[in-house]
């Protein structure tokens, strides 16, 4: 069956450019997470969406980062004026019900390289 899909799988950009990363969660999953994995680091929580509730943005590292989730499904993570320290793998995950089932289904990630 279809899992969590992320696109693009790789993105190379120049410092100062804006990038958009896309996540298609598993159909019917109400919870959606974005994480960042930098080289040699663990996963860093960025943002969490649950249904129609206001997102938990507490992990976003700066105001250059934003995310939205349209229609409770697809999510886009936008990074404005990219910096070299933004280079990382950006992972999206979804789960059926964030309240009672924390099994997360992860996408394969987007490798972002900022030159």
């Amino acid at each position: 069956g279809a899992g969590v899909s992320q696109s693009p799988s790789n993105k190379v950009t120049e410092k100062g450019k804006d990038v958009e990363l896309r996540c298609d969660p598993i159909s019917g999953h109400t919870a959606l997470y974005w994480y960042r994995q930098s080289l040699g680091q663990g996963l860093e929580f960025l943002i969490y969406f649950q249904g129609n509730s206001a997102p938990d943005k507490s992990g976003l590292p700066s105001d250059r980062f934003s995310a939205e989730r349209t229609g409770g499904s697809v999510s886009t993570l936008t990074i404005q004026r990219t910096q070299q320290e933004d280079s990382a793998v950006y992972l999206c995950a979804s789960s059926p019900d964030g309240a009672t089932n924390e099994k997360l289904f992860f996408g394969s990630g987007t490798q972002l390289s900022v030159l």
Binding site: G3, L43, Y48, Q50, D56, A93, E102, K103
Partner: protein, 113 residues
Amino acid sequence: AQSVTQLDSHVSVSEGTPVLLRCNYSSSYSPSLFWYVQHPNKGLQLLLKYTSAATLVKGINGFEAEFKKSETSFHLTKPSAHMSDAAEYFCVVRRGSARQLTFGSGTQLTVLP
């Protein structure tokens, strides 16, 4: 506040020998604890989870973990390593009733022939 410490960034074992990946946590609440595995070029996969039903949790691929409250530990073990177990393993804690997860920094497991 909550945190997760994976005590070893790299672990190497020989095929057929036991695996021990260590994890200690701190949490203000009774935690939910998880182990995830990430194989090269693949997404993260849930190995097992602890949610207070039983202290010894069995997961997929022969892995298990024991929750020890007195030691605030949730170490991952497997009796006999297989080459396919080579991957990065993450210990994760969930904060109380919230849904945010905190990941450890990961342990890279190498299995030698």
